[in-house]
């Protein structure tokens, strides 16, 4: 429908207010990331988003050949949004799905998340926040096509109907969208449109295969790392062995002598300084980097050490921290006999995201403009950062969203450190594109980890076998402290460290959750499902222990303890019970089942796993998952996200599933030291069941992760009689 020209005009127009809007919106992002958006709105801590009109021509291009190109305002990195958002739009548009093409939109004001105010992927919010937006875009486009056809035929628009990219008139007339597109683009965008009744959906709710499968199966799809531009150079950076150390001296003679090395120079880093090597090709750059002789200055640099930190954290956990939740009688625990109490201490290590596609960014600096290519979860922030380094306004930086090979939070970094490094390097090579590549070693040792945590929980059990008093102290670095987002911490509490515990849906009358946020010289970052990675593990293993102590079925115990308003969890548990009862009742000898349930990002999930012990490791024979995510936009994607997401969650249990520090240095180097799950570590089969719903859709990217590890160790506990409170799972 739009021409390239009108598209550009739209982007230009929207970019005028770019900087101001994105700065003020950063708060919206954080508040909404860490408080549930609905809850935040209710509490009045977040201004309601202004109603905003999105111009359809920035999102939909109906081409003369019948192709309908839909812009996706998100990064695609596996979660399936590049298929789901076009489905939503195409459904309201009554488009012929076989003609739909999806493109990842570049950074622009119009593509910002309607709720968060920046262009981003995070908090499992892509569908939750853009469902209504993409429906309206589709419906408005359809209305414009109908208006155009009705005018041609001199009939009333409400006498026309649409189907499969064709408008039909009352007198047997018909016109393909492709024929109407250019005229429709000039018609008035309706202020409001009638959306379909959900019973009329033709695509939403159906199992639709991904649009990006074939090019991902034949090697033709280009990820950011695959980018090849004329005269492009490749950069790698030698970074200090301890975060924050600086280059004292560098002997680069051997490095420079390699054929194909273009330059070697010191650059500032987010933590210390490093040495960049730029060469014609990656292998040359890497070899040259290996030959650098760098002396580092460690003055004033604190050296993190995992075992010392755990000792310190455990001390801290014995004292009350900053209050995150205080309900009921704070002294209730003291009134309960010691024999009716559980004291549990948990340890969680640092975790690397380690997406399969190593981090990279390509930038060409042309003096008054720049062009950047990156698989980014934070396009708005990364574009601003590149502009800042290059002395350009954000709108002078054309920022292309590249398909990314995973991310799990690692491509949503407030300090844009990868893009800043790339920009510093590109600045020196004016007119020449430079691709910065982080090697896998750089990635594993490069920080921005899920923080390590200690939890100490004291539970007092009531006469009914239910927890009546619960005192929970969490120790872990804040994700927000020390970043521009620190202002969104409330009374010093970073909600991302306590979510899943402080807001538990279990009806515990006397609940006290507090948190300590130590400062440690290790950069930390949200890791797929953020605080729920550890809080769900603690909650769900303790609830299981309580159920076992009370000799009550673990599903029934949870159903009894959940508040009635925890509708999604209760629905998921009910469905789980129905779908897993038959196999749970007839387990082979040496097998046990484990249960867990957890709500995160507005999605309720319950799971049952069948586990045995093989070669001293948990063998996961089967997982049954039940999920309530509101309207299931693409059930096939939801099934796929949960099947794989639970296996991703098992990263936490892997024998070598930890990042550890010794004297400030990361002890792991690559996938041989920090080992993600391989096929034999993953469940053999996962069946996923979706609770039917007419509620607004919620996310499915993160909610699979929290439930799996507690369910597996709950099963292991039945087999061994042990409780598993230290991760990773080094011994069974």
């Amino acid at each position: 429908m739009s021409t390239a020209n009108t598209n550009d005009n739209e982007l230009q127009l929207s970019r005028r207010s770019f900087l101001r809007v994105s700065m003020s919106a950063a708060g919206g992002l954080l508040v909404a990331l860490y408080l549930h958006p609905t809850a935040a709105a209710q509490e009045g801590s977040q201004p309601r988003p202004r109603p905003k009109v999105y111009p359809p021509d920035a999102f939909v291009d109906i081409r003369p050949d019948g192709k309908i190109v839909i812009q996706v305002n998100r990064l695609e990195f596996g979660q399936g949004v590049q298929t789901a958002l076009p489905m939503i739009l195409a459904d309201e548009l009554d488009a012929d799905w076989s003609q739909v093409v999806a493109e990842l939109a570049p950074a622009a004001d119009v593509y910002k998340d309607p709720l968060m105010g920046i262009q981003m992927v995070g908090g499992s919010g892509s569908i939750a926040h853009s469902f209504q937006q993409y429906r309206e875009l589709g419906a408005k486009t359809r209305a414009m096509l109908i208006a155009t056809a009705a005018e041609r035929w001199k009939v009333a628009p409400n006498k026309c109907r649409t189907q499969e990219s064709v408008v039909y008139g009352p007198g047997g007339q018909s016109a393909k969208y492709a024929e109407l597109g250019s005229d429709a683009a000039r018609s008035v965008v309706p202020a409001s449109v009638q959306l379909k009744n959900p019973s009329e959906f033709r695509l939403v709710g159906k199992n639709i295969r991904r649009l990006d499968s074939r090019p991902k199966c034949d090697g033709s799809l280009k990820f950011g790392l695959d980018l090849d531009l004329p005269n492009m150079k490749v950069a790698v950076v030698a970074r200090p062995p301890v975060f924050g150390a600086r280059v004292k001296s560098v002997d680069d003679k051997a490095a420079r002598s390699l054929e194909g090395v273009r330059d070697v120079f010191e650059i500032p880093l987010a933590h210390g300084t490093g040495v960049a090597v730029v060469a014609d090709k990656f292998w040359t750059a890497k070899q040259a980097r290996d030959q650098l002789k760098i002396e580092w200055d460690f003055k004033g640099v604190k050296r993190a050490d995992s075992s010392q930190l755990f000792a310190k954290y455990k001390e801290l956990a014995r004292t009350a921290g900053l209050s995150a939740m205080a309900r009921g009688d704070a002294k209730a625990l003291e009134g309960i006999d010691a024999s009716k109490r559980i004291v549990a201490e948990y340890e969680f290590p640092y975790l690397a995201h380690a997406p399969m596609e190593p981090l990279n960014t390509t930038i060409r600096f042309d003096g008054d403009r720049a062009e950047a290519w990156a698989g980014s979860q934070f396009q708005t922030i990364d574009q601003m950062a590149i502009g800042e380094v290059l002395g350009l306004k954000p709108e002078q930086v054309t920022f292309h969203t590249e398909m990314a090979g995973g991310g799990f939070g690692r491509r949503a970094v407030a300090d844009s450190h990868v893009q800043r490094e790339a920009a510093v390097i590109a600045k020196r090579f004016r007119g020449t594109p430079v691709k910065l590549i982080w090697t896998r070693e750089d990635d594993i040792r490069g920080g921005y980890y899920r923080p390590m945590h200690v939890h100490r929980v004291e539970v007092g059990i009531g006469a009914d076998g239910m927890p009546s008093a619960w005192r929970h102290v969490i120790v872990g670095q804040s994700l927000l402290a020390g970043t521009p987002f620190a202002q969104y911490m409330k009374d010093g509490v970073d909600n991302s460290a306590v979510e899943g515990a402080s807001d538990t849906h279990y009806n515990i009358p006397n609940l006290n959750v507090s948190v300590h946020h130590p400062t440690v010289n290790v950069p930390v970052l949200w890791w797929r499902s953020v605080g729920h990675t550890h809080t769900a593990y603690v909650m769900e293993t303790l609830i299981d222990e309580l159920a076992a102590r009370a000799s009550v079925d673990p599903i029934a115990y949870r159903q009894k303890l959940l508040k009635p308003e925890a509708k999604k969890l209760l629905a998921a548990l009910g469905l789980l019970d129905a779908k897993s009862a038959s196999w749970r009742r007839k387990l082979p000898k040496g097998h046990a089942f484990g249960i867990s349930c957890h709500e995160s990002f507005g999605t309720g999930v319950a799971c049952a796993v069948e586990v045995s012990i093989q070669d001293e490791r948990p063998r996961i024979h089967r997982v049954t998952v039940a999920v309530d995510a509101g309207i299931a936009v693409n059930p096939l994607t939801i099934e796929s996200q949960f099947q794989a997401g639970v296996a991703f969650g098992l990263s936490q249990l892997m024998e070598k599933g930890a990042i550890t520090f010794k004297d400030g240095v990361v002890e792991q180097r690559n996938f041989d030291g920090f080992v993600p799950p391989y096929m034999p570590d993953a469940p053999v089969a996962v069946d996923v069941h979706i609770v039917p719903s007419t509620e607004a859709p919620t996310g499915c990217g993160e909610p699979p992760v929290p439930v799996i590890s507690p369910a597996v160790v709950n099963a292991l506990s039945k087999l061994t009689g042990k409780r598993y409170r230290t991760l990773p799972l080094v011994t069974v």
């Binding site: 790392l225 990656f282 040359t284 090979g405 794989a644």
Partner: protein
């Protein structure tokens, strides 16, 4: 620098590179065939899997100077490979991919498995695919797709 004659997907290619350059980077940067992926560089993730004389091989640690006359086959040739095409179709039908970055390597490992063992057991599948990391962890569907492909292969 040295000049090497290679046979890639049945075509003769000539490259002039440092002899230590791994096959992976020759494919990606010199021959501009980016379907083969860099994941770890130390032969533990399988993203760089290609076939060398028909054997699934990690290309990220294989110096070009050691390759000799061996025939190299990459993901780009799978469209025209009888088994490769069936495997790709099964992958699409089963909606296996998520981020997709590891899938070139997964498919190359799966094709090698099915060429050697047309009717693989679960144990065969785990053994042959057990060196390929999928960080999205799409393993359940990879397993299903291999079984689907196996059922279709004569």
């Amino acid at each position: 620098m040295a000049t090497y004659q290679l046979t890639v997907n049945g075509e003769r290619k000539e490259v002039t590179v440092d002899p230590s350059t791994p096959l992976l980077w020759v494919l990606r940067e010199d021959l501009k065939m980016t379907g083969t992926k860099y994941g770890c560089g130390v032969s533990v993730c399988g993203a760089c899997t290609v076939h060398v004389n028909g054997v699934a091989t990690r290309s990220c640690m294989l110096p070009i100077s050691l390759l000799g006359e061996r025939a190299i086959v990459t993901i780009e040739a799978m469209n025209d490979d009888a088994v490769g095409r069936v495997v790709q179709d099964a992958w699409v039908e089963k909606d296996v991919v998520q981020c997709g970055y590891c899938q070139s390597g997964q498919i190359m490992s799966a094709v090698a498995l099915l060429k050697a063992t047309p009717k693989p057991t679960d144990t065969n599948i785990e053994e042959s695919m057990g060196g390929n990391i999928c960080r999205c962890a799409t393993y359940v569907r990879i397993r299903e797709a291999i079984k689907t492909a196996a059922a279709r292969l004569k």
